[in-house]
Amino acid sequence: MMGTSGLILTLGEAAGTAAAQLADAPGGLTARLIPLMALLCMFCGFALAMAPRENEKGVKLTALVISTLVFLISLVVAFSFDWTRPGAVQMLVEGNWVPTLGVKFSMGVDSISLWLILLTTFLMPLTILGSFGDLTGKLAGRAREFYLWLLVLEGALIAVFAAQDLILFFIGFEMTLVPLFFLIGIFGGAQRRVAAVKFFIFTLAGSVFTFAAVIYVAYFQMTRTGNWTFDIGAITKAAGAMSASEQNWVLLGLFIGFAVKVPLFPVHIWLPLAHTEAPTSGSVILAGVLLKLGTYGLLRFALPMAPEAVLEHADLIGVFAVVGIIYAALICWVQTDIKKLIAYSSVSHLGFCVLGLFALNQEGIGGSVIYMINHGLSTGALFLCVGMIYTRYHTRQMDDLSGLGKRLPVWSTFMVFFCFASVGLPGLNGFVGEFLTILGAFSSTRALGIMFAAFASLGLILGAIYILYMLGKVVMGPVKEPEKYAGKVSDLNFRECFVLTPLAVACLVLGLYPTPMLKSFEEPIDGILSTYKQIETKQAETAGEGKGGGVSMRRAERQEVSP
């Protein structure tokens, strides 16, 4: 009889085989560093729960050390990555998890994943260091939980970006909700409970559609090959053969979940609330990395799995993105809470990201990916800056604060710098992505077009308006502080400078020398675009027989000319 050997026995057996499979992965230790990072974060995170409650300092330091260690490991990964073939999934570790459904524990990176992992591991130690002064008052003594959830979050994020199995991706994707739920719910502001629940439910409600689509695509793959697998490569390869209507449904399913996560207008409504209520570290990671899960998902799954549907609906999605850009920017302008303003600006910025993705060309997608990273750095830094103000004045209202340039010159310098990065000043990092995404939309021959670029560019103007409005109120103007703290606050201390400086350097370096990163994106993007090229050649062939058709003709002519 099947399955008669007793649950416990089989369980132990499976654990043994899984461990053996992990240990047998080719390529020695370096090949196994990626799962190591994720698991290290998870285990150490949960282990923090056992730390003594009184020893806050120890907990903080432990968290810092672990996250720094993970950052170092990720650097090792980056250095052992073969940059000559960035499109290939490298350092792949595979182990069977659920053989019945072909679910595997498989992690590996290509250049896009690797950069995003680096972003995560880079931001996390800084965030942790930045949060050292945050847990005061009622929250004193709860450092354990705080750092526990931060580390678990980091582990989940690494797992998402490294996952080469759809289910593993989805696990990471959903698992990020739990730590953030607690981070917002326990350590947040006045409305923290509402915000946490809204964040959780909203994202979960979106992702159930993604889940359905994922299962459907996996099922479709099964009908083609006869084996269940959730291997991303295999599924992506098979998915292109879906019929047009299937693709439409799959795209819809994937899109709903990822759009909520991005968040795209009009499902962005959870974000401002979550951000305003979240503690600084939560906001940093939320804006810096978590939102990118949405665009990353779109890039990894929606684009390659439903190419025909994407071609058909890219314009519609583009409209949402562009409307979101302008709409959120306008809203930013009327905010009174600095943090809310930055939160809404994220909505606006991520609109560019989505727009670039659906331009379906190198410039657009490459721009979008680099925008993910750049937005993570600059917006993360802005949230840190706002957090530093909040720990000093316990307010984030622009009406209460003014002329801080006089009181906190160092802080103001950083603030202005990151604002410029965020507003897309050339030479700083924000510009690269913003420009390339608009350029992609402008020059795309597959979707979107000039009008999309034109309206998106309005975002540039509005972006300047709201950011300068905020700077003008907070950094500049006559000095005004809440009376309680007037004249009592001091400028950034060494620790805070130490948190912001690496971010500033990264912003500058990525603004002036993004080419290596961009070049490393080309190959993976080519992989995604190859599906579209195939469709176009197919259409061109059929069009060649019959009458000339719009998109393919344009593309074909260009190709004739360029070589």
Partner: protein
């Protein structure tokens, strides 16, 4: 399909008994417990728990070494029932003492009329025996008896589980409506028998394959399904669930949420199997009706279960409605049947065990909360739990998140399995409903977690947390199992898959299916004409 030969004359008593050792052991243990429970000696009375525990554990081991002829389904169920039975037993262990029946320390005078200890554990064992028997059933009569064996003890357990006036109320509702439902599915059984002329499931299956689902058979199956949906607390037989779950003592509620449900699902699997998984009957075989009914019931069950839970303030009622909703999810898997690539039956079996484990954890926490000696069961009582008892809260949260279906916890795997099965059978719409309702479900599960973690305890409002070692152990073990099974989910998957292997797999493998279909059709077309003759010959054979 079934390993036993179809002809009852070949039915060797010995072979059958050999497959029933675990059940026999439990029945014997039940009688022993009942007798020992009446002993005036405290030590002996207190040994009831030990006896029960050992018996269950032994039964599990025995089940694991079942002889060949026992079906995979039965083995899986028996082991699962024993494991979860052990968990439930841990949760239940202190219940008789809580009732204050002057048994614990032998203080006061011994009054046999006042002690339910023996009955409690005895009935517990009998009910579990019923589930085990369900899984091995090959006959409608056996099925009926097994179902009743599962249910009847639970009526008593509910009624005597608490001193509160709510317990008898729950008991009366449960018992009367249970009788109504029993009559209903019995009526369905009668019609099935009428339509096919036999009570043997395998023969019913053959008859259906031969004649298709005649209207009479369809009616029989549908009525049977409706009746059994009482056991699984599915629409339209779900009304009792919330009241009964609320009224019964919490550990008993946990018991109710698993044991009758498991029996119900096993029965459904068996009779749907006999019906030839109406899905495949498809065109001309008359299965549409059954499919439509199950589809609608599954959808309604999920929707009603989840939305009603939103309105509750009593946690037990919330979990009751959530239990209804989970039945709905499992019905989705049931509808998929053996499926054409993912076995929906094995998904259901998997989910049953998964649900059992996380369910015990969730109820155990509530069982530990007290207010003035009575059960504390509102949301307010959860406030600040995390601050006071972090481990307990964490275990609770793990179970609830698993119930929500947050990956990678076991509830997620269960849903993945169920919904893969249903999507691969083309029930995309139903799956989407399921997923949407599970997002709704997230709200109330999250509300519980949020109450534990996010609301600061108010000294005056705090509920007491009793220190019941065994119930705490039940909580810890089930939370631990949730985590363990979540990570090492593969074996449970293959176990469930093996258990469901008997269903449909062979038929659906690419080569076999068309042949069978043709064969069945051909047969039915040729033999429909001389139905009467055949009837006569078969009668003569008897």
């Amino acid at each position: 399909m079934m390993t036993l030969a179809a002809d009852p004359l070949v039915n060797e008593m010995g072979a059958k008994i050999a497959g029933l050792w675990p059940e026999l052991l439990l029945v014997v243990a039940a009688f022993v417990v009942m007798i020992v429970g009446l002993s005036p000696r405290t030590a002996l009375r207190q040994s009831t728990f030990g006896i029960t525990f050992v018996a269950l554990a032994l039964a599990g081991v025995l089940a694991a070494f079942s002889p060949e002829q026992v079906t995979g389904l039965a083995v899986y169920t028996k082991i699962g029932a024993c494991v979860i039975g052990l968990l439930l037993l841990l949760a239940l262990a202190e219940l008789p003492d809580e009732l204050g029946q002057n048994l614990k320390d032998g203080e006061g005078r011994f009054d046999p009329q006042q002690t339910h200890r023996g009955e409690f554990f005895g009935f517990f064992l009998l009910s579990i025996t019923g589930v085990m028997l369900c899984a091995g059933a090959d006959d409608l009569i056996w099925l009926f008896l097994a179902l009743e064996l599962t249910s009847l003890p639970t009526y008593v357990m509910v009624s005597i589980s608490r001193r509160s006036i709510r317990a008898p109320e729950a008991g009366v509702k449960y018992f009367f409506l249970g009788a109504l439902a029993a009559a209903t599915f019995l009526y369905g059984f009668a019609l099935i028998y009428g339509a096919t002329g036999t009570t043997y499931l395998s023969e019913i299956g053959e008859a259906i394959a031969r004649d298709g689902l005649t209207p009479l058979a369809t009616a029989g199956f549908v009525i049977a399904i409706l009746g059994i949906s009482f056991k699984i607390a599915a629409v339209p037989m779900h009304f009792y669930a919330a009241d009964v779950y609320e009224g019964a003592a919490t550990p008993v509620t946990a018991f109710l949420a698993f044991v009758p449900k498991a029996a119900g699902f096993l029965t459904l699997i068996l009779i749907l199997d006999a019906a030839g998984w109406p899905v495949f009957a498809g065109d001309g075989m008359g299965g549409d009706g059954v499919v439509a009914v199950v589809w609608i019931l599954a959808a309604l069950t999920m929707v009603i279960g989840n939305v009603m839970a939103l309105l509750q303030t009593n946690i037990k009622r919330v979990l009751a409605y959530s239990s209804i909703a989970h039945s709905g999810y499992m019905m989705v898997g049931l509808l998929a049947g053996p499926g054409n690539s993912v076995n929906g039956v094995s998904a259901v079996l998997f989910y049953l065990i998964a649900y059992g484990v996380m369910n015990v954890g969730a109820f155990a926490v509530i069982g530990l909360l007290k207010r003035a000696g009575e059960e504390a069961e509102t949301f307010d009582d959860l406030k600040g739990l995390a601050a006071r008892r972090p481990v307990m809260a964490a275990a609770f949260a793990v179970c609830l998140l698993s119930l929500t279906g947050i990956p990678p916890l076991i509830g997620f795997w269960g849903k993945l399995y169920l919904f893969s099965a249903s999507i691969s059978m083309g029930y995309v719409g139903l799956t989407v409903i399921a997923l949407m309702t599970s997002a709704v479900a997230a709200y109330y599960y999250l509300r519980m977690i949020a109450t534990c973690y996010l609301i600061d305890p108010d000294r005056r409002e705090q509920a007491e947390i009793s220190t019941l070692p065994q119930r705490s152990l039940a909580l810890t073990v089930s939370a631990g199992l949730v985590v363990l099974l979540s990570i090492g989910v593969g074996p449970l998957f293959s176990g469930a898959d093996g258990a469901a292997n008997g269903f449909g797999k062979a038929e659906t493998s690419e080569t076999a299916k068309p042949e069978q279909g043709n064969g069945a059709k051909g047969q039915s077309s040729t033999e429909k004409g001389n139905w009467d003759d055949e009837r006569l010959t078969s009668a003569a054979g008897r």
